[in-house]
């Protein structure tokens, strides 16, 4: 198990390899379809992003509404490929990590290799357990998007696996090939 403190640098990213089990602590930002669309629109208009993505991690998640006695509702990862159209632009801006589930496109993997990004997968459908890793939630931008708004989450021991590292090694390909009959 490798402990990662977020935000993390290019040097830290280079220490991670596909298949590594990691435990993430620190601040990460939520963002999925609608927030990504808005962020890339801001960049194309030459405007600033709601937060500086340099060395940060974006977690692809749309949490459930928060019950009164909790910090956050169920909050497992969503399918990452829907963000593929936007991720290379954010990686170019310095985004260091992405947490989601499922395949990424060649364009995203090439951008990860070029700018030193890491793609982590969390377990899809583990939303109730993952909510226990969140110790604080703070609205950052786009409240009108509801569950798709950008929140800053302070997490402790958030469990993930390096699915694709900054060299482009891909755990999905490695794992599936190993068990294919």
């Amino acid at each position: 198990m490798i402990n990662i403190s977020s935000p993390f640098t290019l040097d830290d990213a280079k220490k991670l390899h596909a298949g590594d089990n990691v435990s993430i602590s620190g601040d990460i930002y939520t963002g999925r379809d609608a927030a990504h669309k808005k962020m890339t629109e801001l960049l194309s208009e030459g405007k600033k992003l709601p937060f500086d993505v340099k060395d940060q991690i974006i977690y692809y998640v749309g949490p459930c509404p928060c019950p009164p006695d909790k910090i956050i509702g169920s909050c497992g990862p969503t399918t990452s490929c829907r963000m593929d159209a936007y991720s290379p632009i954010l990686l170019k801006e310095g985004l260091r990590g992405m947490i989601g589930k499922g395949y990424r496109s060649e364009e995203v993997i090439n951008a990860m290799k070029e700018y030193g990004g890491v793609y982590f997968c969390a377990t899809g459908g583990l939303g109730a357990l993952i909510s226990r890793s969140v110790v604080k939630k703070e609205l950052v931008a786009f409240p009108e998007l509801g569950t798709e708004a950008i929140f800053k989450l302070t997490v402790k021991d958030f469990p993930a696996v390096v699915a694709i590292d900054s060299w482009g090694n891909n755990l999905y390909n490695i794992g599936i090939t190993k068990y294919r009959r």
Partner: protein
């Protein structure tokens, strides 16, 4: 003639929304436990045991198992001898509205597929009605997350493609889906009818218990063969490699046309929720 008040239907649906999203069905529990006993990958085993722990925690806390509490899909069989006092469709949508609010379930529905503004109450539901003999109303609720919904497929095969064509299409659809639909998955297959009938059958197949068998021995054998082929793909839990890619394959069929062989695959994730109540 039996009278059922719409208000009772609304109240029942509200409770079903919360119960189905917070309590993993017993058949899925069974299948994951069985998966744990046959999985060869240590990462895969860990994921499967995490899924059981997650479902236990969700149940204990009465919180959703998965944050994608889905689009609300219903199969409603209405007995011909039932008089409904009120508006049935409004009652179901009202139950969804109340259930998703009171249960802190996520509202994931947009009012228009292209203009995409959230309805903020998870309505409208997708409701499939059937008129049947008798004096009962049977409501099956199967909320559907879109990580898995997005990975299904439909193909109008030629009759000459036969059994092999159908099986190859099912396996290819699952293989291309890879990790995206949150394996281990449940594979719903609809064969026959028209294009839309096959799609409906595939969805309905996901409301059967994941470890159930078709009553038709021919299709029961095909389910077994497909499960074997799918679990040889190596995709495994979460697509990180392993033996347990699917928990079960359910096939539903309908008579077809002399010129057609429709096949549809609807993939359910490892949180394939289904709950039935009878009024």
């Amino acid at each position: 003639m039996k009278t059922v008040k719409a208000e009772l239907i609304k109240e029942t649906v509200k409770k079903m929304c919360i119960e189905a999203n917070c309590n993993l069905p017993e058949d899925i529990y069974r299948c994951i436990r069985h998966g744990l006993s046959i999985e060869e990958s240590s990462e895969g085993k860990k994921i499967l045991s995490d899924l059981i722990e997650n479902a236990n925690y969700a149940k204990e806390q009465n919180m959703p198992i998965c944050q994608d509490t889905g689009m609300a899909v219903f199969f409603v069989s209405v007995g011909q001898e039932v008089y409904i006092d009120g508006n049935l469709t409004e009652a179901i949508n009202g139950g969804v509205r109340d259930g998703y609010e009171e249960g802190y379930l996520r509202k994931s529905v947009v009012i228009d597929p292209l203009r995409r503004v959230n309805t903020k109450d998870n309505t409208p539901a997708v409701i499939h009605y059937d008129i049947v003999p008798g004096d009962k109303i049977e409501i099956t609720f199967a909320p559907k997350g879109f990580g898995s919904e997005n990975m299904g497929g439909l193909k109008m095969l030629k009759p000459s493609d036969g059994e092999k064509g159908v099986m190859d299409f099912v396996v290819k659809t699952v293989e291309e889906a890879g990790p995206n639909p949150c394996p281990p998955i449940v594979v719903g297959v609809g064969i026959g009818g028209t294009m839309e009938k096959a799609a409906l059958l595939a969805k309905k197949a996901l409301t059967r218990e994941a470890d159930s068998k078709s009553e038709d021995e021919y299709y029961a054998a095909m389910e077994e063969e497909l499960l074997h082929r799918i679990n040889s793909l190596g995709i495994g839990p979460q697509g990180l490699g392993g033996r347990v890619t699917a928990l079960g394959v359910n096939i539903e069929t309908f008579p077809s046309h002399i010129a057609g062989l429709a096949v549809c695959v609807n993939i359910g994730c490892h949180v394939t929720r289904h709950l039935t109540k009878t009024l």
